[in-house]
Amino acid sequence: MTGAITSLRTWKRPPVLLKDPRWRWTILLGSAIYLVLAISSVEVNWFRVYEGLERGWKFIQGFLSPDFNSRWRDIQAGLVESLTMTLTSTAAGVLISVPIGIGAARNLAPAPVYMFCRSLITLSRSFQEIIIAILLVAMFGFGPFAGFLTLTFASIGFLSKLLAEDIEGCDSAQIEAIRATGAGWWQVVNYAVQSQVMPRLIGLSLYRLDINFRESSVIGIVGAGGVGATLNTAIDRYEYDSAGAILIIIIAIVLVVEYSSSYIRRWAQ
C-alpha cells in the first residue's frame, strides 16, 4: 500500500476493491464490450414507444384517479381468493415443512432421510412459483386450488430450508444435556430443539405469509386464481382506472402485512 511518496501535496485515494490495476482494467474493458453488445442487440421500436407514451399517461391518470366502483365485485372476489390462498397455503406449508425441515437438519436426521429431504427442498426451490403454477394449472384445472397448491409447494422449499439451517445452528450443548438425561429422539426434538427454533419459525412463517400474498397476486396471470387474474383482465380491457385501483389495493395490503408481520416478528424474538 505504501508506495513511493512523490509529493506530500498530491494524494490519491486508494481503490477500495480490486487493488490490482490490471484486474480493474480487464473488468472495466469487459463490461464496456458487454454493454455495447447488449445494447446493440436490443431492438426498440421508438415509434411504438412514442405511441405508447400517451397510453402510459392514461395509466398514470388512472392510477391517480382510481375507479374502485365499476369492477368492485370482480376485485372483491379476486381479493378474497388471494387472501384465502395466502392463508391456507401458508398454514399448509408450515405444517408440511416442519417435518421436512427436521429431516433436513444434519444433527437430527440419519443420512438417507437427510438426502431425501434436501433433494425435496432443492426441487421446490429451483423453480419459480409461476412455472409451478403453469404445470399445476395444467393438471388441476383453472382456479384458486391450483394456486393454493403452487404456493404450498413453494413455501415448503423456503420454510424447510431456513428451518433446517436454524436447527443446524442450534446450541448443541442443550441438545447434549437433554440427551444425557436419557431422552429419546422425540424428547430431544421437543425439549431441546423446539424451544430454540420456535421464535424463528414464527418469524419465518409470517415472512412467508407476506411473500405468499405478493405471489398470489401474480400467479393469477397464468390462470391460478386470485387478484392477479382480475388485474390481467383489467389491463387487457385497457381499463386503467380499475387496474390502478387493484394496484393500490395490492400495495396497501402488502404494506399492512409487511408492517404487522415485522411488528409480530420483533415481538416473537
Binding site: V16, R48, L53, F59, M139, G141, G143, F145, R214, I251
Partner: protein, 231 residues
C-alpha cells in the same frame, strides 16, 4: 376457494400428470439451438435492468437514509414511497403494464426489471447508509469538506462493499425473474415458453425448463462467488 374448484379436474390430476409427464419426457434436444438467442436476451434483460435499477436507486437511497436526506419531513417520505411502490409490485405485473404501454419486446422487460429493482436496492442501500460509522463522517467534515465531499470521502468508502453485494444479489434475482417475463410478452426465454405451452409442445417445455434451471444455478454460483469476494 373450494366452491369454485371443479373437483372432476382435481380427481383427474394424477392421470393428467402422467399424461403431461409422458409428453414431456423425451425432451426435444434439437430445440436447444433455437434457445441461444432468447437466453442472450434474458441475460441482457436482467443485466441492463439491474443497471437501470441501481442507477436510479442510488440517489433514492441517499434521499431515504435518515442521516443523508436533505429534509426529513418531505423528501424522505417521498423516497420511501418510491421504494414501497416499487417493491410491492411484482416484476411480472410491471411487465404486464409496460407491455401494454410501450409495446412487447425486450425494452418492456428491461424497464420492468429496472423499476422492480429500484425498491429492493434502495431499501438495502439506505439501511447500509444508516448503519455507517458517524465518526468518519465527522472527521471528514472537520477538515472543512462540503456536503458532496463528505458523501464522497466518508460515506461511499463505507458502503461500497455492501453496494456491490446488493447489486450482484439483485442481479441474481433478476436473472431468475427475467426468465419468465416473456410470458406476458416482454421477451427472453419466457416468450419461447409461452409459445411452446400454447402449442402444447411439452417436449420443448422440458428443454426450456432445463435451460432455466441451468441459468439460475450458474447465476447463483456467480453471485455467491462475487459476494464472498467483496463482503
Amino acid at each position: 376457494m373450494t366452491e369454485d374448484t371443479i373437483w372432476a379436474f382435481v380427481a383427474d390430476a394424477p392421470r393428467q400428470a402422467s399424461d403431461i409427464g409422458g409428453r414431456m419426457l423425451p425432451p426435444r434436444w434439437g430445440y436447444l439451438n433455437q434457445l441461444w438467442q432468447p437466453l442472450w436476451d434474458t441475460l441482457n434483460i436482467a443485466t441492463l435492468g439491474t443497471l437501470i435499477g441501481v442507477i436510479i436507486a442510488i440517489p433514492v437511497a441517499f434521499l431515504a437514509a435518515g442521516n443523508t436526506t436533505p429534509s426529513r419531513h418531505f423528501v424522505r417520505p417521498m423516497a420511501l414511497l418510491i421504494i414501497v411502490t416499487s417493491r410491492s409490485i411484482n416484476s411480472l405485473i410491471w411487465a404486464l403494464l409496460l407491455v401494454a404501454i410501450i409495446g412487447p419486446g425486450l425494452l418492456a422487460g428491461i424497464v420492468a426489471i429496472g423499476l422492480r429493482s429500484i425498491g429492493f436496492v434502495a431499501k438495502l442501500l439506505y439501511e447500509a447508509i444508516e448503519e455507517i460509522d458517524e465518526n468518519q463522517v465527522e472527521a471528514v467534515r472537520a477538515t472543512g469538506a462540503s456536503r458532496v465531499q463528505v458523501i464522497d470521502y466518508a460515506i461511499i468508502p463505507q458502503i461500497l462493499p455492501a453496494f456491490w453485494g446488493i447489486s450482484v444479489f439483485r442481479w441474481d434475482i433478476n436473472i431468475r425473474e427475467s426468465t419468465i417475463l416473456g410470458l406476458v410478452g416482454a421477451g427472453g426465454l419466457g416468450l419461447q415458453l409461452q409459445s411452446s405451452l400454447s402449442t402444447l409442445a411439452w417436449n420443448q417445455v422440458t428443454v426450456i425448463f432445463l435451460v432455466i434451471v441451468a441459468t439460475v444455478v450458474v447465476s447463483e454460483w456467480v453471485s455467491a462467488k462475487v459476494r464472498r469476494a467483496v463482503l
